[in-house]
Amino acid sequence: MSRLEVNNLLEVNNLLEVNNLRVDLPVEAGTLHAVRGIDFHVERGEMLCLVGESGCGKSMTSLALMGLLPRKARLTADRLQFDGIDLTTLPERRRSDLRGARMSMIFQEPMTALNPAYTLGNQLCEGLIRHRGVSRREARDRALYLLERVGISAAKDRLEQYPHQLSGGLRQRVMIAMALMCEPDLIIADEPTTALDVTIQAQILRLLRELQQEFGTAVIFITHDLGVVARIADRVAVMYAGEMIESAPTPALYANPAHPYTRGLLSCIPAPGKTPPGSRLQAIPGVVPSLVGSVEGCAFRNRCPQAQPACERTPPLMSLPGDHRARCHYADRPVPAPLQPEMSS
């Protein structure tokens, strides 16, 4: 048995395996490397949070997983496996058999994600009818059950309504019900609460977490808000400039952030009781480097408070104890003291 086959057998339990995933987009000024070789996996039934600021490649990653990348985008990966199925070579027709059936997606904008021309019932049912070949009646029963399950009252009447007749929060609940229609193994939720009011956000988050635990569905939750993560995620992966710079179980990440960027993000969150009232929240100074063309060295070094000469070299992904990984030269050791003390004044 070759080593690769052994690996396959060992890791077949993971629902999703991603190795060295790259997404390139041709733009006017050259090639935009939106995702620059990321590795991660998703276990069955777990909730993984993908965190990063806008433009870090997290949405491109989710579209790549779903096979919904823009037509001009180019995807390469050493491995992109969903439940043992190689997604990189899967023909589009077979791929569409998976979409909506075994992996589904919830989008950021509930106001525009539903087709204005069809009733909610129609849009909820069509995926199930397509994938399972059930009758319209059976599909409606399932839709009705899920609408009630996601907390929509008068679900029966809602089936006959059009998207514009619902508020944003209700529409997002419908989107969640829609994602659950075929009992998928994986749901990708791309900032599903960003466009909603704060009170609604909390409700939707709680709902997603409940459903995820009830149905045992794995969820990739994409957000720019590290505050959200602590409440719901089993594991967290932080993305920066198209790379995955740190991943860890949620408690470990909060207790021991190993990457300076993660530490910066954490210090941006006001903590009740800890952050003194009236004090200024920290922001990370500087801007993300352009992803057009190649990035040399650590992508974060121009904003990093502790950048060192070594950071000119691209840092490896360092393994830390407890399934904790970080892409920083100094993830497992202290930053050397400044050589010339007078410069630090």
């Binding site: 525009t112 994600a113 069809y118 069509e126 829609m178």
Partner: protein
């Protein structure tokens, strides 16, 4: 929805009334009708006699009210030239023009919508460029000249189809092509832009994320939304085509409303001219009204408000 339609109908009726006034005034004020009718060789006495015979000596407001009173009961008076009432002439000729317009519209719709969809799906490929070329050429082609060219090629040289007359369906093929091509570019472009816009939309991504087949994504989810403005445009284009039928009917010697109007204009048969202008305007008004209703019916956001 009910009040919406009611308000539109009110506006439509008052527009029709305004047009009847404007066209009446334009015809009566832009020249001396009596002189025109009498012809260049008539003496002053003859002109005066015609003026009195046709009631043209009356104040113009009285003339209009007389005419309007008749028009409301579909009595447009007598033709100066034919031994017949204007209504009989119009009823006699209308089917030909409506057939021509209907066939031309069907032709235009069945070419422009598939072509627009295809161009949008194959954006920036040779298919798209070809479709665009087809549209640009159609916009620049003078319809009378296109009609004559069709006659020379298909009726005279190839002898596939008749060049003139209205005896059978074959007679409508060439005129319908000439008239339909005129309406195609605008609808094709609107379909294309609409599809491009819709295909970029979030709900198409949702539909694809559901794993729907490409056909269902394009036809059920995209086209259904992109087509709404095209339906409205089609109705308006039909109105324009009926108005433009005067050119095509004269080229192909089709004895429809347009030909009637042209004959009436060259023979100074003003009651007929007046009536045809009003009838064609009425068609346009009704069609745009239907377009608005269709728009509302097709778009749940308007329908269920």
């Amino acid at each position: 929805m009910g009040t919406f339609i009611f308000r539109r109908v009110l506006v439509a009726m008052s527009v029709a009334l305004t047009i009847s006034i404007v066209s009446f005034m334009l015809l009566h004020l832009s020249g001396d009708l009596a002189t025109s009718i009498a012809g260049p060789e008539a003496t002053a006495e003859q002109v005066e006699q015609i003026r009195i015979d046709y009631g043209l000596d009356q104040p113009i407001v009285n003339q209009y009210l007389d005419w309007l009173g008749g028009a409301l009961t579909f009595d447009f008076g007598h033709s100066y030239y034919y031994q017949s009432t204007v209504v009989d002439l119009i009823v006699d000729r209308m089917p030909i023009t409506l057939t021509l317009g209907g066939v031309a519209l069907a032709l235009a719709v069945s070419i422009s919508i598939p072509l627009g969809v295809l161009a949008a799906l194959k954006r920036d490929t040779w298919v798209d460029r070809l479709a665009l070329l087809f549209a640009v050429v159609g916009q620049a082609m003078p319809s009378f000249w296109f009609g004559l060219t069709l006659i020379v090629v298909f009726a005279v040289t190839l002898q596939w189809l008749p060049a003139a007359g209205s005896d059978g369906w074959q007679h409508f093929v060439l005129p319908a092509i000439a008239l339909g091509y005129y309406a195609t570019p605008a609808m094709m472009r609107l379909t294309r832009t609409g599809m491009l816009e819709v295909l970029e939309s979030d709900y198409i991504r949702t539909a694809r994320a559901k794993g729907l087949r490409t056909g269902a994504v394009i036809f059920k989810h995209a086209l259904r939304n992109a087509i709404i403005p095209v339906v409205a445009l089609a109705a308006v284009e039909l109105g324009f085509m009926l108005g433009g039928s005067v050119v095509i009917e004269s080229v192909f010697s089709l004895n429809g409303l347009g030909q009637l109007a042209w004959d009436a204009i060259s023979r100074n048969d003003y009651p007929v001219v007046q009536a045809v202008v009003l009838i064609i305007a009425l068609f346009y008004i009704v069609l745009t009204l239907l377009a608005d209703v269709a728009n509302a019916a097709l778009d749940p956001r308007i329908r269920t408000r």
